[in-house]
């Protein structure tokens, strides 16, 4: 959960008893005072693992918070169970008050939209419609002049069109165009890939123009894909809520315009439903939440509306987190997994990422082509995303393991595995 490798190091240094005083923990929280350039008060809310520290560091969580967690994990006897001091009680009370305020807000959003809100919405409708009309003309031009000509186009060619979509308040379409910019010349079959992207984009604008003919759930999908966002409060108030014990399987990050997007995948142990928690870090800011990867917790999730709900947020947390040590509730063959993918695509054709939890999987490395594969119990295999997967191979040792990964239609990105009764989160590079 550390923001970068240097924080991990700094945290490990502070994970020794000698740096700390007034350590303590209770059912709700963990606290201690750390001697830095001043005496810093560090507190951890155990239900969310959110850390607060009185130090001036802009990194979140700071090294003091990480140090306290590491200290508690390594030498639990150094952090006695005791009554929280005043500064912890008041902090917890404040946090409770904030979450209450959020709930009041939630109640408010249920009220009827005001006249001015309706007007703003109508104005935006018109803007989006005009933007889409221009986008369709542009797409037609691309195909009329031939995709072959696009190999030599500068980045500004795509960026210009993306900006127009931002101006038309269709940020979803803008993001799709930005992704297209990276395709020309990136692979031998790039014209086919680019054509697929253009085609799916055309299908999307077509669907938006005929949105009344779609089922209500698909209408939601299309609106969201174009760029109409649902506020978190709205999702909390109206989204489908699922209470389950959820496993935090792993995380992937991807650069976006001016920052990074972080995807955290969860799987419901009873419902067997996947859920995706999205967070953004813009211009170097930190992600608002830190999730206990590799652990399970009872949560109530609220899904964004849609025909194949995937994105969700945490509505309420019940109980504490425990490490995931039992087998993953996954499918046993790729056949079953890909059938599920087909079923989802039949409902929501633009879905791009799918959670793959496969039991009894065996990773395999083909040195000759430098390609990593994941093989299922029937001997069928899907390629793993390019990368060094030695940790995966080491954990498996050629034995079947339970695997969690993200399928993008072409390759599997490993998120974590359960091997020898312990779940291991597989993060790229030094994000551990």
């Amino acid at each position: 959960m550390a923001p970068d490798a240097s924080s991990v190091k700094a945290g490990q240094k502070l994970g020794l008893v000698k740096h700390w005083q007034n350590l303590g923990q209770s059912a709700e929280a963990l606290w201690g005072e750390c001697q830095g350039s001043a005496l810093y008060q560090v507190r951890v809310d155990l239900s969310t693992l959110s850390i607060q520290c009185s130090c001036p560091s802009r990194k979140q969580p700071c090294k003091h918070g990480l140090g306290l967690l590491l200290l508690t994990a390594n030498t639990p006897e150094a952090v006695p169970v005791s009554d929280p001091p005043e500064w912890i009680i008041s902090w917890l009370a404040k946090r409770a008050a904030v979450s209450k305020r959020k709930e009041t807000l939630k109640a408010k959003t249920n009220a009827e939209p005001s006249v001015s809100q309706t007007k703003t919405a109508e104005k935006r409708q018109a803007q989006v419609a005009a933007g889409i009309a221009r986008l369709d003309l542009w797409l037609n031009d691309l195909v009329r002049n031939g995709l072959g000509n696009l190999a030599s186009q500068p980045a500004t060619f795509w960026e210009q069109q993306a900006k127009q979509m931002v101006d038309a308040q269709a940020s979803g379409l803008a993001a799709r165009i930005r992704r297209m910019a990276a395709i020309p010349n990136a692979s031998p079959d790039w014209p086919e890939r680019l054509l697929s992207h253009c085609g799916e984009l055309a299908l999307l604008t077509h669907s938006y123009q005929h949105i009344d003919q779609l089922a209500p759930a698909l209408q939601e999908d299309v609106r969201q894909l174009v760029g109409w966002t649902r506020k978190e409060d709205e999702v909390l108030a109206t989204g489908e809520q699922v209470k389950d014990t959820w496993i935090f399987l792993g995380q992937a990050t991807e650069p976006i315009e001016r920052g990074n997007a972080q995807r955290t995948w969860l799987l419901g142990t009873q419902s067997k439903r996947p859920a995706l928690l999205l967070q953004f870090s813009i211009a170097g800011s930190s992600y608002p939440d830190h999730y206990p990867l590799g652990a399970r917790q009872q949560l109530e999730l609220a899904y964004w509306p849609g025909s194949a709900p995937q994105r969700a947020l945490i509505a309420t947390r019940h109980g504490s987190t425990t490490p995931q040590q039992t087998r993953l509730p996954g499918v046993s063959t790729f056949h079953a997994f890909l059938r599920d993918v087909t079923a989802i695509l039949a409902r929501q054709p633009w879905q791009e990422r799918f959670l793959c939890t496969l039991c009894d999987a065996i990773p395999q490395y083909d040195a000759a082509s430098n390609q990593w594969w994941l093989r299922d119990s029937e001997g069928l295999a899907l390629p793993l995303t390019q990368g060094e997967h030695w940790l995966l191979l080491s954990l498996s040792g050629g034995h079947p393991i339970d695997f969690a990964g993200e399928w993008n239609g072409e390759t599997l990105l490993p998120l974590g595995v359960l091997a020898d009764g312990a779940y291991h989160v597989l993060l790229k590079e030094e994000e551990a």
């Binding site: 056949h335 395999q364 050629g398």
Partner: protein, 535 residues
């Protein structure tokens, strides 16, 4: 390539016959579209793309084999029918381990040692403790530890016993980690057939590793193999392989070495001559002794030195190099080379004197520097402890001499030939001149005795307290701290961790001392944790 793709690449504006077929059922759907050509093509492409994504199938045959399977002759591609469980054991699987995994806290400790640069020097100690406790590296840390030891060769030997079955198995897949398998192979299970293939076709590093093992196991066969390929080898390879004959060197090697003495490459000739000199019964050894006796004479406490004026061809054939390096006279150069190839104890026997007496007699001589250098080389070549001791005594006296007959790095070499107790005593004689003993510390094995550690810490405290910034010794003290942190005996830990009194001024000096002491105490505390948690 499907028609729809070619049409899109060229552009609908350029093609007369506008065809957008995909060769899939999507075409039937596309036939219902109305409107502009371009729009129709785009929508068809979109549907086709989703059609293919939804119909994706997993691969039944994975390209290529991995090394293990290729060896076992089994095909990973051959699979059972859907729904049927695979019962045959996977040739890929690593077998069960006799070693126990280490505790979660020990695992955490190991990951700290691997991830934090400052702790890396402690890794060999931690690995050695794991071996003692019959533990193995946890699976999750194997790639990290293998990568580390691939770069840091010192960490290889202590890693091998704690890799466990899984680590050995894993290392067979990554070419960068093949050194594990290479070093694990015992001399006994050297498979001659495969070894011969490596010997003929392997990389030079593989061949060198193989040759070393073979020479250790079967000296005669190794020599025979080398003689087979000798005429075709490059000079650099010849030199390397020849030097390996040092393992299990015997009189049986003499004929071949005599042949190598006639090689075109001077470095090969040099190596052959050195090896022959090491076989005391060899003809070359006898020739060298006879030559040396014409150069030195000792009567009534006086040493007479008569270096050769010309170099005979026979001498050159025995590996004596003609051309001296810059600033060295040729007579001295030749003399030194001959002396280096005569066992030093030969002189003591010949003249009936002790090494110390002979060294003392050389003191007045104009050729002293050459004599000392020659004897020094011979002492290291023939591992003569008595001479090492005597030469060391001579080195201690050198401060009054100008110029000193030999330098610090040679002195360190001498020291390392002595038993640990003697080295420690020798170093303690040098105190308090840190410039003198700090390099000598490297001659000590990496586990100091309790007494030595105690004395070292005492001196270090005195030095730091006295704040002798002006003495210019701080560099050596700071250097020594890095070594002490690793080499101090655990019984000295408490002494090392007693708070240190640090000088306040001058500021730069105070900072320097503080950094050095922080390094010392951090590493010592870490070593304490290693001892507590790995057992």
């Amino acid at each position: 390539m499907e028609r729809i793709v070619t049409t899109a690449i060229v552009g609908t504006g350029q093609i007369q016959l506008q065809e957008a077929s995909t060769g899939t059922p999507v075409d039937a759907l596309a036939a219902q579209l109305v409107g502009e050509q371009e729009r129709k093509l785009l929508l068809t492409a979109g549907a086709w793309s989703i059609y293919r994504r939804a119909g994706y199938c997993a691969r039944a045959n994975i390209d290529g084999f991995n090394p293990v399977q290729a060896l076992s002759g089994k095909d990973i591609g051959s699979r059972s029918h859907p729904g049927e469980k695979v019962h045959t054991p996977n040739p890929n699987e690593s077998s069960e381990d006799a070693l126990a995994p280490c505790s979660p806290r020990a695992t955490h400790l190991l990951s700290m040692l691997l991830l934090q640069h400052q702790y890396k020097p402690l890794l060999p100690e931690a690995l050695a403790r794991m071996q003692q406790a019959q533990l193995r590296i946890p699976h999750a840390l194997l790639p990290l530890v293998l990568t580390h030891s691939t770069q840091d060769k010192n960490a290889r030997a202590p890693l091998l016993p704690v890799l466990g079955k899984r680590g050995q198995w894993l290392s067979r897949f990554n070419p960068a980690w093949f050194w594990v398998t290479d070093s694990l192979k015992d001399a006994e299970d050297l498979q001659l057939d495969t070894a011969k293939i490596i010997w003929q076709e392997g990389t030079s590093e593989q061949r060198r590793a193989l040759f070393q093992r073979l020479r250790a196991a079967e000296p005669a066969r190794a020599r025979a193999w080398l003689m087979d390929v000798w005429p075709q080898e490059k000079a650099t390879n010849k030199g390397n392989f020849l030097a390996t004959l040092n393992i299990n060197l015997s009189a049986e090697d003499e004929p071949f070495l005599e042949q190598a003495l006639g090689d075109r490459s001077s470095s090969v000739r040099g190596t052959a001559a050195e090896l022959l000199a090491n076989i005391t019964t060899s003809a070359l050894s006898q020739r060298m002794r006879a030559r040396a006796e014409t150069l030195l004479n000792y009567t009534h406490g006086t040493l007479t030195v008569t270096p050769p004026h010309t170099l005979e061809l026979a001498w050159q054939k025995d590996g004596i190099v003609v051309e001296p390096p810059k600033h060295v006279g040729e007579r001295a150069f030749w003399l030194g080379q001959v002396l280096a190839k005569v066992p030093p104890q030969h002189w003591a026997q010949l003249f009936g004197v002790s090494p110390a007496q002979l060294i003392a007699a050389a003191k007045e001589n104009e050729w002293e520097a050459t004599l000392i250098a020659g004897w020094l080389h011979a002492t290291t070549l023939y591992k003569q402890q008595e001479w090492a001791q005597a030469l060391w005594e001579r080195w201690l006296q050198q401060s009054s001499d100008t110029p000193p007959p030999f330098d610090t790095s040679l002195a360190t070499q001498l020291l390392s030939m002595l038993p640990q107790q003697d080295i420690e005593n020798a170093i303690l004689q040098l105190t308090p001149n840190a410039a003198g003993w700090s390099p000598a510390l490297t001659a000590l094995p990496c586990a100091w005795s309790h007494q030595f550690g105690e004395r070292y810490l005492q001196l270090l405290r005195e030095y730091i307290r006295s704040s002798q910034a002006h003495s210019n010794q701080y560099y050596h003290w700071v250097q020594s701290v890095n070594l002490a942190a690793i080499a101090l005996s655990p019984s000295n830990f408490d002494l090392a961790l007693i708070p240190w009194e640090l000088p306040a001024s001058p500021a730069w000096y105070g900072k320097l001392c503080k950094e050095a002491i922080t390094t010392l105490t951090t590493l010592i505390e870490m070593r304490k944790r290693i001892i507590e948690e790995i057992n």
